[in-house]
């Protein structure tokens, strides 16, 4: 996107963040706080998936690492909850580096497979060491509503904390993407062998990307723990990891602005949009739209439809509208062979 348009987009985002809580109910403000938290996680995952083309089905677990770091520091060591956030990021980032160090040396499919094992392994570890993590019961955090002489209710406090962190990290992500490191990342995605030939250490670059993405998820996880005020092994299930990847893809992998759409999707599809879509159908058919699993079906179908119609995600759609050019979809690679004989 042209820089001028990007600045404009960011100004619109900041304006929306300032205005939104004024127009929202307390509950809606709380939901929007989670949009900010998911945005942080998606920005991180986007650096891995969008820029290097590696998919990860395990980043929810790095949110979990951050969340547990924050919780343990606050509950067991009496830290100020905001000060735990950098630590949450660093701990998750180190976990990401430790995993990425071997894993990013594998070719694409192997890495995706290995990441799929992270969330369930993480849950296993949490249950195995209960004296440290609280085991299946988890741990409870105090609810926060005033700090630095600033008194408000928990929803509003969480909203502002999340979004200020999110906007700062958005700018940082933008600097990363535009800089030398971002170029190295993109060269890895476009051609691993060519990148190696021009002196880029592909495994090294991917490992660092993995670490950065895990750092982002760790910060998001720390905020998540502060917002929900409890953590247990079920707080970060494999579904969350999948949802994060889906958010990146639907938002438009590789696009920072697209992650805002992705974060909205991640927060609202399961509790708000999914049931609303189902209600439309339920007027025609007699289906129980509040049944467990129903919103999962809706979100899976939405994902599938997006893959068919707009493989470059929401960002791709916007770009198409703005630039008027059709085939920007880097993902929709055309093959040259005519379709199969249907005889």
């Amino acid at each position: 996107m042209k820089p001028r348009l990007a600045y404009l987009g960011f100004v619109v985002l900041v304006a929306a963040v300032v205005i939104a809580p004024l127009l929202s109910s307390n509950y809606r403000t709380f939901q929007l706080a989670f949009v900010g938290i998911y945005l942080i996680a998606l920005l991180g995952l986007n650096i891995l998936t969008g820029l290097t083309g590696q998919i990860s089905l395990g980043h929810g677990a790095f949110m979990g690492v951050g969340a547990y770091a924050t919780t343990i520091l606050v509950v067991d060591h009496g830290w100020n909850n905001l000060l735990t956030l950098p630590v949450a990021g660093v701990v998750a980032g180190l976990a990401g580096l430790a995993f990425g160090l071997p894993a990013t040396r594998f070719a694409g499919p192997y890495l995706a497979l290995a990441t799929f094992a992270i969330p369930l392994s993480f849950i296993g570890l949490l249950k195995r060491f209960p004296h440290f993590t609280g085991g299946t019961l988890g741990k409870q955090l105090p609810s926060v509503h005033s700090q630095f002489g600033f008194h408000t209710n928990p929803s509003v406090w969480v909203y502002w904390t999340s979004w200020i962190v999110a906007l700062v990290m958005f700018v940082v992500a933008w600097l990363i993407v535009r800089g030398r490191f971002g170029r190295a990342l993109r060269s890895v995605r476009d051609s691993e062998i060519a990148a190696t030939a021009s002196g880029v250490s592909t495994a090294g670059v991917k490992t660092v990307a993995f670490g950065i993405s895990a750092f982002y998820c760790g910060v998001a996880g720390g905020l998540f723990a502060i917002a929900v005020t409890y953590v247990n092994p079920d707080t970060f299930p494999i579904d969350l990891s999948i949802l994060l990847l889906v958010g990146v893809v639907l938002g438009g992998a590789g696009s920072l602005g697209g992650m805002v759409f992705g974060a909205l999707f991640v927060e609202f599809i399961r509790i708000t949009w999914g049931p609303a879509l189902l209600d439309l159908f339920s007027q025609v058919h007699h289906i129980n739209t509040r049944a467990p699993g129903s919103s999962l079906v809706v979100y899976g179908v939405v994902l599938l439809l997006v893959l068919y119609v707009a493989p470059a995600g929401a960002a791709g759609l916007v770009r198409r509208l703005v630039t008027g050019k059709a085939a920007v979809a880097a993902w929709a690679k055309q093959s040259q062979m005519p379709a199969e004989d249907q005889a």
């Binding site: 040259q336 062979m337 005519p338 199969e340 005889a343």
Partner: protein
């Protein structure tokens, strides 16, 4: 009599790059026709346009019927065997499994005895992995497999590629044999103009996606331009 294969103004492209700009040519039943030309002239693309491994515009008529956009499997079923560039051997399968694949479209037990008359050495190698054969043997296996398709037209893409001169000559001897004894029509793309013109009755010369020259093998052999550009004397 109508030709067995007729290309009418066929063009093809790879993405934005046009590779053929309206090629017309014919192959009669029982004939060997060669396509000559430099690298990138569109020889391989011509064969691929016929078999449907590249999207084409323009008409291809085979045995009196227009070939639609039916894809490679449809073309094969219509009776055209295409031995592609690089021979298209299934390297991980055995020699015999490769041959069985040649007879994939045939119902009932395939008749391997005729094939073994032309390629007697295959019998002893039947359980060898095809990828471990030498280049010449792989080319022969590809020929044998194509023959098992019982095609009316055989299309060969650079059969001499990477082969020693003696082996190349042997490949072309078998091709001529199949042509004489079985009446198989052959359309062969070849860099090695001398050996191709030795086997073929007629030939086309392609330059940058167009037919630059055509005629009988004798005519082309004595053409000065062909001699200096492709025969080297």
């Amino acid at each position: 009599m109508a030709p067995l294969l007729e290309l009418k103004d066929v063009s093809a492209r790879y993405g934005p790059v046009a590779a053929l700009h309206g090629v017309s040519l014919t192959v009669d039943a029982g004939e060997i026709v060669a396509i000559l030309g430099a690298n990138g002239a569109g020889k391989t693309t011509t064969l691929r346009a016929v078999s449907g491994t590249v999207r084409r515009d323009g008409d291809v008529v085979f045995a009196g019927k227009r070939l639609g956009r039916m894809g490679p499997e449809g073309t094969a079923r219509a009776g055209i065997a295409h031995v592609p560039e690089g021979r298209g051997i299934f390297a991980e399968l055995t020699v015999w499994e490769n041959l069985r694949m040649g007879a994939y479209m045939r119902r009932g037990r395939p008749n391997f005895s005729t094939v073994l008359e032309y390629f007697p050495w295959l019998d002893a190698r039947r359980n060898q992995q095809a990828g471990t054969l030498s280049g010449g043997e792989q080319q022969m296996l590809a020929l044998a497999r194509a023959f098992l398709q019982r095609p009316r037209l055989l299309m060969l893409d650079e059969p001499s590629l990477g082969l020693a001169p003696l082996v190349t000559r042997e490949v072309f001897r078998v091709v001529s044999d199949l042509n004489h004894k079985e009446g198989l029509a052959v359309l062969v793309v070849e860099q090695n103009a001398a050996i191709a013109l030795g086997a073929a009755q007629r030939a086309y010369v392609l330059e940058t996606g167009n037919v630059a020259l055509s005629g009988t093998a004798e005519q082309l052999k004595s053409d000065d331009a062909v001699r200096s550009a492709y025969l080297g004397y």
